[in-house]
Amino acid sequence: MRIGPLPSVGAAEMNPLEKIQEMAGALAPTAPSGAGMTGAAMGMGAGGAMRAEFSNFLNKAVTEVEGKMRSAEVEKSKVLTGESNNLHQATIASSEAGIAFSLMVEVRNKLVESYQEIMRMQV
């Protein structure tokens, strides 16, 4: 699998997903203040609303990916402890989690890429 060793449910502070969630959260407050400072254009307000929506989407995606990873982890530990012998369900769950994770990484890469594109812009 492409996913490295997952932190256990208890060790939440180690979770890399929470960093991305923080990032997404940081996007949200900038939207209303940006719209408030310029205060004028309708387009800016609409952009702010869109940005808030996008951060919501990202947040939701991260939560969902995390849920998938947790359920894959539960499934895997069930197989390892001998509680169930559904090896295929464990592999399917972890491959689903892997795909969801790569989708999230892809979205994040696009986000960073567009940010860098804007930073390179000549003014």
Binding site: H88, Q89, I92, S95, E96, I99, A100, L103, E106, K110
Partner: protein, 135 residues
């Protein structure tokens, strides 16, 4: 969000086929069991499958084991007076398990399992390929 389409149906089919393999194993293991819990020779078990709705918002048709039945046909009778389960005439009733039939069942179940694995592998690689659009 469901990225790997049809995976719940495939997963349920894998579970069902695994059950079928277990039943074949049980039949082969008891091919010479002349006395089971209720005193009769072992009767081979057979499974029947049925469709059920499951997966994300219950839209995927999966498969599950509907029932397990005993094959009621009588097994072969052999003359073996020294056998502890022989009747007064010295005849022993063997289980109705035919090893050839069980092997064929085993092969078809394991091929069906492989087919479902290929479906899972294929839909996973489709999802991965779709992700590479963005690269």
């Amino acid at each position: 969000m469901n990225f790997v389409t049809g995976i719940h149906a495939t997963s349920s089919a894998l579970t069902a086929e695994q059950m079928r393999l277990d039943i074949v194993a049980q039949n082969i293991a008891n091919a010479y069991t002349t006395k089971d819990a209720d005193g009769n020779p072992y009767q081979r078990r057979t499974l029947s499958f049925e469709t059920f709705l499951g997966g994300v918002n219950g839209a995927e048709k999966g498969v599950r084991v509907a029932s397990m039945a005993k094959d009621k046909s009588l097994g072969e009778q052999v003359y073996n007076p020294g056998h502890p389960h022989a009747d007064p005439q010295g005849m022993v009733r063997l289980p109705n398990v035919q090893l050839a039939t069980e092997m064929v069942d085993l092969m078809s179940a394991s091929r069906a399992y492989e087919a479902n694995l290929s479906v899972a592998r294929n839909s996973r690689s489709l999802a991965t390929k779709a992700l590479s659009i963005g690269k």
